[in-house]
Symmetry: none
Subunit: 247 residues, 2 copies
């Protein structure tokens, strides 16, 4: 079964659970990060302040995600009904859990989401998730980072995991393709002939040894791959240069 | 030769260029995002406010990155000396550049960084990069996102590209690299100036409307990516075309 990426992400229940967040701006920024990747189920466990103007300001055009956020008193409530949860943490606090990279976590969460609601769980800014909270999750998910400073901003971490979820859901061809109207082989060859003649006319080419230079120029234009209109422009320039030297 | 990922990222010159950033908090957050992934060369083009307490607060433990940031008056200054630059944009404003995903951009930038300094260029929060700024870059890089809302926070975008760079550094290199001796940014820009002047001299360019044609030609040569020697050859040809025929 193949589905459009947005559909694959949004039709499944993927919860972003933020525990004990202390800065409202981070909640707003997380909502924005989620929306850019097509996620909309925000769950807040015991947030310090909600709602707040700061959170709204940081959410920019994701006010809908913020407004529909569900607020819980405990992580148990936030995870109720889920079939799989990944604890996002910079440190590996205990070795009892399987540890996935963010990329692996994206793939895994999407797989598990076919079976029921899943969750990505984030701790508070300063301290991260407690051992007890991690123990309520199925796996640990980590972002590969600088060992000397691995502490991502909360919303930046949400952005990154949400991005990996979206990529995991995506079909190969997503970006708009460059518009490209390639010139035909024979037209490119005629351009090279015209170029060579012009370089003689303007006395740039050494008639004794024209080959090496023409090869360099061929290489340049072959690397570029010329468009039809570009061939016309270049031939126009060559004609203008020839005319000036005859005149 | 195999190097540790952190080393591969930090030993090469990878510039993060933020153009006309309006919110100091975003500059600080971008510095933090860079540091978590082992990047430390921040370049600011005409930032609204710098330094600022807000930027410092958002940088958390990345004050060193912020303090060593270089401030420029123009994008030309920030890109001087680079051999490759990717314009990060959410919208594909014109289809004149090759478009890479963030993931592809990470791999490509790291490859190019073996040849000289490279840059990832970000526009201001509200409007993004202008066409003129994009035209100074080698490729466009985009984050696959929700088509209904694709506007990532600036620092979140920096986080994501920096993360992809780090992951790319962890992947082993496979194919042998093409031998390529790229021209420096400023030499390519000087070539474009010389080209424009020559097109006036040979009466090819319409002085009333030179822009569109020059953009077409820029597009062609940016796509090709010029080598140092090719710039010399092309400037030699231009000089010969400018000289009036003596006969």
């Amino acid at each position: 079964m193949s589905t459009a990426p947005a559909e694959a992400v949004s039709s499944r229940e993927i919860r972003i659970v933020l525990c004990h967040t202390s800065q409202p701006g981070n909640i707003g920024a997380a909502a924005r990060a989620m929306k850019t990747m097509g996620l909309d189920r925000l769950h807040l466990v015991n947030p310090k302040y909600v709602p707040s103007p700061e959170a709204e300001a940081m959410s920019t055009h994701a006010a809908d995600v913020l407004e529909s956020a569900r607020v819980h008193a405990s992580i148990d409530q936030a995870l109720a009904g889920t079939v799989f949860a990944a604890a996002c943490t910079a440190r590996n606090r205990d070795l009892s859990h399987a540890v996935l990279t963010a990329r692996e976590a994206g793939t895994r969460l999407l797989q598990e989401a076919a079976r029921g609601p899943v969750a990505l769980v984030f701790g508070p800014e300063k301290t991260g998730l407690t051992v007890e909270e991690v123990n309520r999750c199925s796996v640990i998910a980590m972002v590969p980072a600088n060992p000397l400073y691995s502490s991502l901003n909360l919303a930046a971490a949400v952005q990154l995991f949400a991005y990996e979820l979206r990529l995991a859901a995506e079909a190969p061809e997503t970006l708009p393709q460059e518009i490209f109207d390639p010139a035909a082989y024979q037209d490119v060859e005629r351009l090279f002939e015209h170029l060579e003649q012009t370089l003689y006319d303007i006395e740039f080419l050494d008639p004794k040894n024209p080959k090496r230079l023409m090869q360099r120029l061929r290489r340049l234009f072959q690397r570029a791959r010329l468009e039809r209109e570009e061939v016309n422009i270049l031939r126009g320039i060559l004609a203008a240069a020839q005319k000036r030297h005859k005149g």
